[in-house]
């Protein structure tokens, strides 16, 4: 973005005073102190500042032209769809015949607040593409409300490439169900899974939920990686996973064999679905 003439001028004056001071040229420093509106140095500096400003404006124009050319030429990748989805602003109208918003006069905070789509994943399907999105609710992910989803769908219809069929979904988290046998070190953990020193009432459950939260959006859930995480918890000696099941929507739970790709893009577990049996076990060295 081109700087204004005044900005270039001020930058040049600051730099000029610094150089003159460093080179110990008191006459030049005095010259900068001449505040007359028609001081020769001011006229010269202004002329140079004007030229630099003009050059920067030319660069901006050049860049805009190049951007425009690229946007017309480039076929859009799945990554582009994910990026453009995150640029959606709820409650704003697009600039006519374009795929961007006019944000002049808005602060960055206002723009960020309007960009409700925090996560977007694009999956290619046989017919068109599917876009999964989620927003931030509290400190967790959540589904877009129906108004928001309608607005978002309309936005994507406006900005998408011609001929692309979109399926846009924003669902609540997939449900996970798990039964575990936890062999714990009785020197560190108590029989209910809490830490004996009282610093954490449920370190295993916390690690379990943190792992789910830290999965990338639309990332693969792998039970064996989860077991690794749980075995890293202080006081846990071994973990035997007896059951892994997941479901989305109101469908039935299905067993997870090796990995699971959450349909909503993310996965959560209800505390009642996480059954852990704690069994004391001496540490295995």
């Amino acid at each position: 973005m081109a700087r204004s003439i005044q900005e270039v001028f001020d930058a040049a004056v600051t730099e000029g005073i610094r150089l003159a001071t460093d080179a110990n040229l008191p006459d030049v420093v005095t010259m900068f102190g001449n505040t007359s509106r028609v001081a020769i140095w001011k006229i010269l500096f202004y002329a140079v500042a004007f030229i630099i400003h003009a050059l920067e404006v030319i660069y901006d124009l050049f860049r805009a032209e190049i951007d425009n050319d690229i946007s017309l030429l480039k076929p859009h990748s799945a990554r582009w769809y994910a990026n453009i989805a995150k640029l959606f602003q709820y409650g704003f109208n697009l600039v006519a015949e374009s795929d961007y918003y006019d944000n002049t006069g808005l602060t960055q905070d206002q723009i960020t607040a309007a960009q409700i789509v925090a996560y977007a994943a694009v999956v290619e399907q046989q017919r068109g593409i599917r876009i999964k999105v989620a927003k931030i609710v509290g400190n967790d992910l959540g589904a877009l409300a129906s108004n928001e989803l309608d607005a978002f769908s309309e936005y994507m219809e406006e900005v998408k490439d011609a001929g692309i069929k979109l399926l846009i979904t924003s669902g609540v988290a997939d449900d996970l169900k798990s039964t575990l046998r936890m062999f714990y070190n009785p020197l560190v953990l108590a029989a209910d899974g809490s830490r004996i020193d009282g610093t954490d009432p449920s370190p295993v459950q916390t690690a379990f939920n943190n792992y789910l939260k830290n999965l990338p959006f639309n990332g693969i859930f792998a039970p064996s990686l989860m077991v690794d995480q749980l075995q890293a918890v202080d006081g846990v000696v071994l973990v035997k996973d007896d059951l892994w099941q997941a479901r989305y929507g109101a469908l039935d739970y299905t067993n997870i064999d090796v990995q699971y790709n959450p349909d909503a893009g993310y996965l959560r577990i209800d505390p009642s679905n996480l059954a852990i049996t704690f069994i004391p076990q001496s540490p295995i060295l």
Partner: protein, 98 residues
Amino acid sequence: MKVVKILLGQTISDIAVQELGDAERSMEVADLNGLSLSDDLTSINTLLVPDYDTSKVNIVNLFSDPANAPASNDVSGNTAAELEGIGYWYLENDFVVQ
């Protein structure tokens, strides 16, 4: 957006100051007319100019009288006087060695 007649000796930045009250918008005027900022306007009669910003209305009013119009291009036709002296003289042109 309006069409402005160019007076003798006016440059694009003169027009920007006169019509928009802001030299910073010179490039905008040049771009709008498909010209370069330093193009000579002697062969052009009119320029297309965007609307001025309301905050600059005082400057625009000041220059609305053609008698006040800025014209910074040199139209006298005079070129700078040739420099004299041993450092500027050419052999066979200013002096002859015999």
